[in-house]
Assembly symmetry: C2
Amino acid sequence: MLNFDYKNPTKILFGKGQIAALAKEIPVQAKVLMLYGGGSIKTNGVYEQVKNALKDFEVVEFGGIPANPEYDILMEALAIIKKENITYLLAVGGGSVIDGTKFLSSAALYTGEEPWDILTKPIRTEKGMPFGTVLTLPATGSEMNSGAVITRRSTQQKLGMGGPGLFPIFSVLDPQVINSIPDRQIANGITDAFTHVLEQYMTYPAKALLQDRIAESIMQTLIEIAPVILKDKSNYEAASDFMWSCTMALNGLIQKGVPTDWSVHAIGHELTALYDIDHARTLAIIAPSLYRYKFNTKKEKLAQYAERIWNIQTGSVEEKAMQAIEKTEAFFHSLNIKTKLSEYTDDYKKCAGFAAERLKSRGWIALGERKDITPDDVFKIVEMSY
Amino acid sequence: MLNFDYKNPTKILFGKGQIAALAKEIPVQAKVLMLYGGGSIKTNGVYEQVKNALKDFEVVEFGGIPANPEYDILMEALAIIKKENITYLLAVGGGSVIDGTKFLSSAALYTGEEPWDILTKPIRTEKGMPFGTVLTLPATGSEMNSGAVITRRSTQQKLGMGGPGLFPIFSVLDPQVINSIPDRQIANGITDAFTHVLEQYMTYPAKALLQDRIAESIMQTLIEIAPVILKDKSNYEAASDFMWSCTMALNGLIQKGVPTDWSVHAIGHELTALYDIDHARTLAIIAPSLYRYKFNTKKEKLAQYAERIWNIQTGSVEEKAMQAIEKTEAFFHSLNIKTKLSEYTDDYKKCAGFAAERLKSRGWIALGERKDITPDDVFKIVEMSY
């Protein structure tokens, strides 16, 4: 096991009816900016529950944060925070709303001139404006971690930020919200969380027995609940396991003591920036090709994953590993997630070059658990994904 | 899955050489009371490493905290805290030293007349004096939770305390310390951690799929590393998995969303109070009898445990469940832990009555995940353990 530091101070309020409990987590004198997305919370009952919980607070609202939270829109919210002397933020939404709120938490206390510098320099946030979240879409794990990804369409950039000051003070996870999520987004959430685990697992063996097993536990649970929840979104037990698995997949725990990769995400972000393909789907496009391309360095963990997750007990390490990649693709297909770029766009033929160039143009950050993936490798991996 | 609240703000510094990093976790102006036990830290190099890390702080020392931390001795340390105007506590030791430090953290800020009231009333600690820990003996999980158990020999009492103010600010887990731990204490640590998982798992099925699997991951890891670490304590990888498994077994995570029992601990504590039997060994004495006695309510989870942990795939639920209890006893025996009270003392014949009476005399707290274990049941469970 590798050395690690681990701290995660977010308080989780999990279960039926927990939205009502959020008021006791916010300081009584707070002036709250409530942030949300396209307004689905107004039709599924979450908006009313949150407003009711906040009835003793002074509340300003800011809706309309889009998927892949957009910098220019967030700057409008920042202006409101300053004008209204907001002291506490409440994100009500999925990963995009929560990530956008993390940017605002940081930007609200940022003393530099240009908040975009937080993303480009990047600046680690040691202290942000306190915020809580009410999760309405399990997927990204943002509700219990300190990272965020922000998009700026005018420059076609999608950049990450983070720091210990960006953990939510609290997050409400009420699995009942899942009943009103469209199938497409549930499939995305499962794919996103599953790939989060893969990025922290599919590297080289590091003799971190417990960490491996916890990662496998999350994948096993997602595979078990996926058909159940896609068949019946009102199944509270499956919804609970789905929601909690997404949080545990990226709350920092399973990455501790082990090498991590994250190159699937790095490459996938470029596909979203270029083609506006859903984040989760870009991961399903890139992951199988990346595992085939880096087969020699990942085959031992692929074989362990084959045995423990897919119950493939016969064959050589290589045979098991290869079958595991096929099983992973089949799992994505079972969610109605396509795994080839050409199934999403006709305009894919220059994508490999664009993706490699874009990653390079921002100052190449070595990818892969051994930092050995080059721009040329990215080109080949994306090409394999056509 | 049941509703839950979860928050654990302790920072973990895990790995080789992490003792040196503790200084940056303590406020620069702190006056530190360093607490330890019988002095083994002076022969295994930990004392020097801690003192070196603290070289820029004003430090007072208090050694001699015994196993099952004794109230009267802790009161001596409390007098020093007040006399010396201590502002920060540092526990260097195992669960007893850490638990004792938690009592002091609470008592140092307690405004009532009699600190023993914290245990008898009991008083929940919302805020304590800040403290960190350097763990030298993996077992209790106290390094990453907010509970403690304190003993008072003059009244033969062993009582629990806790509260959100009693999480360590940080805990250093350097697996290299395991190399100097006597075999007996390593076996105790494995047994203690394994039983902690059982108490949070061996109840009734609650459809918390991920929580069950994480609990199972810890048990599988402990079973896998037990023979390795008992054969070679210098095996750093096995030591790492042992240490981290003990922490994860009782840091609050796996008890969330599921029913818990804790009756093995409640009854076991009485055996320690009456006979001074090592805490972990009392758990190995009580657990098998308790599972046989409460077989009808626990058999489904026992059967799941049989299948997933002991690979028992054939037979009825009852047959699998019964075999799993036998496998558990065999596991304890493989650690050289005896599982019958008569193997520890000749004076056992009145124990069942004493244990039941003592639990009753303090105001009966219903035991078991369904609160259905009566004093008469305790009598029978202890009698089955003779």
